[in-house]
Structure formats: C-alpha cells, structure tokens
C-alpha cells in the first residue's frame, strides 16, 4: 500500500500528456507490489525452512498468513463495496451523476476502497496461497523422502522460487517492451506477451527442477497441469464475464424488461459457471495423481503449479485498481484529456483483474483440497467412513457453514451500505449548494463510516473460521473434523465461483449498456443494470474471494490441531 498509494495520482498526471507514460507508471507501481507478495513469502518460508529442522512448524506461518488474509479481504471488501454501493445508489441512480463526480460525498471512500480491497485484500489473499501451497507441499514431501530422497522436502520451495524468478523476468520483459514502444501501442498485447513469457519460463524451470532434483518427469506433468488449470479457469471466467461474451449480453438484454430479470439471468449464468472450472481444476489434481502412479505428492505439486505466475499476475492485477483510481482522480480534478487516455488502460486493467480472480479461484480450490489431504495424511486417516452418521452430519454442517459465512458477509456489506446511503442523502439535504457544485462534501465522514463498519464486521467470520474446526475436532475427533472440512470445501468452492462470475457478469452487463447498447446511459435498461451491478458487488468482491480464504483458514486451523487431536 505504501508503494502504490501515490502511483494513481502520478499515473493521472502523466496521462495528461502521454498514455504510454501513464501505462509505464501504473505497471511499475503494480509490479513493485506484485513482486513484494511472493518475495516476502519466499523470505519468510526460506528462513523458517532452513532454521527450523521441524518443518511442521511452518504450519503456524500458513495459519497466520491465512487468518490475516481473511481479515484483509473481508475488511477491504466490505469497505470498498459499501462505499461503491452508497456512491452509486445515491449519486448515480438518484441524482444522475457520472462515476467519480466530485459532488458525491462517497467518491473518495470508493477510491480508497479500490486500494484497500483490490490491492491490499487480493495481495494478502495471494500471499497466503503462495505460502500455504509451499507449506503443504513441504509437509507432504516429508512422507515421500523414501521415494525421492531429501529433495522431496525442498522441491516445493525450489519450484515456487522458480516461479518467482519467471515472474521477475516477465516483468522486466514488459518494461523492455514499454521502452521500445512508440506512438500507438497495445497495452493488452504487451501484458499478455509478458504473461506468456512468464508461463514459458516457469514451465521450463519446472521441467529442469523435476528432472534434476527428483528425477521424475511425472512431477513436471503435475506442475504443468496446475499452470494449464489456471489458463483454463481464465478462459471460462472470460466466457462468463467478458463484455463480448454471450452471457453478459443476454443479462443486459434481460434488463430491458426490468431489474428482476437482469438479476435472475445473472443468477442462472452464475450458477452454470462453476461446473467447468471445477472439472478443469480438480481434473489437474486427478491427472497428476494418475500420471505419477497414484502419488498425493504430485497433487500438492499441481497445486504449486497454479502459483507459478503469481508475481506477474499480481503485478498486472494491481495495475487495474491503479488505473481505475487514476481515472477517478482525473475525473475529480477535471482532466478530460487524462481521462480519455486512462479509459483505454482501465479496460485492460479490468481484464487483468478478471485473470487474477480466476487465478485466485484456481489456486484457492486446489489449496483447499491439498490442505485436507495433508490433514488426513498427518492425522493418519487413510479411510473415511461416510456412512457413519457423525461424519455424514459433519459434511452437511460444513456445507451449511459456508452459506452462513456468505450470508454474514453479504449482510455486513448491506448494513454498511445502508449507513453510507443515509449519510450521503443527509449531506445532500444539509449542505447547501452541494448538488450544484458550490460547496464541498464531507468526504471524511464517509471514509470513517466505511472504516469503522468494515473493521467491526470482519470479526465474526474470522471467529467462525477458527472456532468451528476447533469445536468439531476437539468434541468429535479427527474423522468428524475431516468430514466438516470436506463439507465446507465442497460448498465453498462452487459458491465462490458462482459469486465471483455472477457479480462480474452483472458489472460488465452494466458496462455493455453504458457503451450505448439497449438505450445506453440514462435509460430504464441502464437503471436495471445498475441495480444488477449493485446486487453483484458484495458477491464478487466480498463473499466470493472471502469464501476461498475462509476454507483455507479452516483447513490450516485443522492442521494446527492435529498434534492435539491425535495425542
């Protein structure tokens, strides 16, 4: 945050004269944070790995990073979405103001939210994925020392390191392309080329390490299947959420007959969207398992394979909120030329954000699966009797718990947004001349509402994530706890994909109408898609990403409990 907080202003300033300069500043700002995420993880894990001979102590690092990420994601998500909903409902819908209008009291809180939600929230999410995947890989590797030798334990750390190196090279390649670009340039082509370079180097490094350290090509196939699962998830997410895709256009078309049909169409496509990614992502784990001769270690490596591009993806992801903020700053400071340059970069930033959400979903799903496999392994559970009533009940209670957490998250966002709407309306009624642009709004009051509510509301889901597995494990034993984790994972994965894709589809249906389709801005269809987008906001930016982290915190808590449960 410290690194990127002034970058949007610098990008907005540069965009007044050069779109390329704005692109360079925004991407370099994004990369400084994007690289810090894996480098910080690598420093922590390397130090703990080499200074603590008992590698199970790494679980504490994973638990801490997951719990902090849960707080950062929930707090950041509630903050940003409550401000966004408040600013949109009152400013845009009730008063017909454009996005980021300086007369809107919630606009600064909305821009702050992009930083604390999209940058800090997602950064901490990917940090805990990066760390958790290495930790489960190392713990799993301990059981495979007889087969591969001591290399099995250090291999996950080395593979993740190769991914960081590949991201570093990808970022430097983008920097080089930017330096050689002159006049007309394509930001999306430059970023996509950087991503392909990163993936290619990561795959080559995975091959070299698999052969050199473990002398087993099937482990390389596992890592490769993880990389391919990420690309497959990106492809599917694009289909369901891209402005050019059929689902988004049909949602926008349904909005011509009212907001209810817009919402229903989005729900229908959203519920359709998890099945293919689930098959692809879990297919990667099944392929790895079979190709390696039924080795669970390969499943853990496939999981690390999904992380190999994290540094680059995080850089491209942070680029999104930076240009989005820069666009807002340009609007607020009345810089039309900068806005024109930034709107093109903003659409590229949105695509990159969609890529990273797909990455986060893929790595989150596989991590959750690997965490409960690791739990079963260290708890000595080789078989689980699903016909035992206690186990069966725990699966159902686990499935219901994911819905409870999602309900709490959406409810908290709604509660905060209600306070925000009331406050913005109050300011319009009490501050004379505000609507005419003759008086300044009280931005600080809206910032304070988002801050206090977001921090208060993040506590309960955090307590559930830690307390629920403790209760299940301590009162009913390790088998019931495993069943409980399976229930949570099985419901949280499709639910989070549904929330993320439906929410993004509502958002892009709104953008599609704002491009001039079906009557464009100000039409009844526009009012309907704005309502759809408001419904989708807490789904895609609070509940969806938070559920992914929630199931990992539950898994990590279970791992921490193993010594107590099997003693």
């Amino acid at each position: 945050m410290i690194m990127i907080i002034k970058v949007h202003g610098k990008a907005a300033d540069a965009a007044r004269t050069s779109s390329l300069d704005a692109f360079r500043i925004a991407f370099m700002g994004g990369s400084s944070m994007g690289m810090l995420v894996p480098i910080a993880g690598l420093i922590g894990l390397t130090l703990l790995y080499f200074y603590f001979p008992d590698h199970t102590m790494l679980i504490g690092f994973g638990f801490g990073s997951s719990l902090t990420a849960l707080f950062a994601q929930i707090g950041g998500g509630i903050y940003t979405k409550a401000a966004d909903i408040g600013a949109d409902l009152v400013g845009k819908v009730e008063h017909g103001m454009p996005e980021d209008d300086p007369r809107n009291p919630g606009v600064i809180a909305d821009l702050v939210g992009d930083n604390v939600g999209d940058c800090a929230g997602r950064g901490s999410d990917l940090f805990q994925s990066f760390s958790g995947d290495v930790i489960t890989g190392i713990i799993m590797g301990i059981a495979f020392v007889p087969k591969y030798g001591p290399g099995a334990v250090v291999f996950p750390l080395l593979l993740q390191t190769a991914g960081v190196l590949a991201s570093n090279i990808g970022i430097m390649a983008v920097r080089m392309f930017m330096s050689s670009a002159k006049g007309a340039f394509s930001p999306s082509r430059i970023l996509n080329t950087g991503l392909v370079i990163t993936a290619a180097i990561a795959i080559l490094s995975a091959f070299a390490l698999s052969v050199y350290v473990l002398n087993d090509v099937s482990i390389f196939v596992a890592a490769l299947s993880g990389v391919l699962a990420v690309f497959a998830a990106i492809f599917i997410a694009r289909h369901y959420t891209s402005v050019t895709g059929k689902p988004v256009r049909e949602i926008a078309s349904a909005a011509r007959r009212g907001a209810a049909l817009d919402v229903l169409k989005g729900m229908s496509y959203g519920m359709q969207s998890p099945i293919v990614p689930i098959i692809m992502i879990l297919g990667a784990s099944v392929v790895s398992y079979i190709v390696s001769g039924y080795s669970l270690y390969a499943v853990a490596i496939a999981n690390i394979g999904t992380d190999l591009m994290i540094g680059f993806m995080m850089s491209a992801d942070v680029f999104g909120p930076i240009v989005d903020n820069a666009d807002g700053v340009a609007e607020l400071s009345k810089q039309p030329r900068a806005q024109r340059s930034l709107s093109r970069l903003d659409s590229v930033g949105n695509t990159m954000k969609a890529y990273t959400k797909a990455l986060s979903m893929t790595t989150g799903t596989l991590t959750a699966v690997v965490v409960f496999i690791t739990y079963a392994q260290i708890a000595g559970i080789t078989q689980l009797d699903m016909l035992a009533p206690m186990n069966l009940a725990a699966v159902f209670v686990g499935a219901g718990t994911s819905f409870l957490v999602a309900a709490l998250l959406i409810g908290s966002t709604t509660k905060t947004a209600e306070v925000m709407v009331d406050e913005i309306r109050r300011q319009y009624h009490t501050i004379k001349g505000l609507l005419q642009g003759k008086a300044e709004p009280d931005y600080a009051r809206c910032i304070d509402i988002s801050t206090s509510n977001a921090l208060r509301e993040m506590a309960v889901p955090g307590i559930i994530a830690v307390a629920a597995p403790m209760v299940a494990g301590v009162l009913f034993g390790p088998q019931v706890l495993l069943s409980f984790i399976i229930g949570i994972t099985v419901s949280a994965v499709p639910l989070s994909i549904y929330f993320s894709n439906a929410g993004a589809a509502y958002d892009n249906a709104k953008k599609y109408v704002e491009e001039g389709n079906f009557g464009g801005k100000g039409s009844e269809t526009h009012a309907a898609v704005v309502i759809g987008d408001t419904v989708g906001d807490p789904m895609k930016d609070v509940a969806g990403p938070s559920l992914v982290i929630f199931m990992k915190v539950v898994g990590m808590t279970a791992l921490m409990l193993v010594p107590l449960l099997v003693a």
């Binding site: 202003g9 610098k10 007044r16 400084s32 690289m35 810090l36 480098i39 420093i43 750390l157």
Partner: protein, 59 residues
C-alpha cells in the same frame, strides 16, 4: 539455498528499482496532488486501524 537466495536478491533489486523509479516521478498538477492526498489519508487511516484490530484479535 542458492536458488532462493539469488531469487530473493533479484526480486528485492527489482522491487527497489521499480519503487525508486516511480518515487522519482513528481505530480505537477496541484488539483491531482490534492485529490491523491485525500485518497492517501483515507487509505492510511483504514490501514492503521485494521493493523491494530488484527494484531489485537489474533493473539
């Protein structure tokens, strides 16, 4: 140990290079600078309180 050490060193060098290059860029427009400062203050107010909340809650 060698591969992580090289990667960490290169990574830190890259982060510093990118951060310092961006730090050197100054905002020339006053209005942009003022708006940017408002966002900065809001973000730090949130982060400071979040930091305190998390570190009270987790232990």
């Amino acid at each position: 140990m060698i591969l992580p050490a090289i990667t960490i060193t290169l990574g830190i060098a890259t982060i510093l290079y990118l951060a310092v290059s961006n730090y050197a860029v100054k905002i020339r427009n006053n209005r942009i600078d003022q708006v940017s400062d408002l966002i900065k203050k809001g973000a730090f107010a949130y982060l400071g309180r979040q930091f305190k909340t998390i570190f009270v809650f987790i232990p």
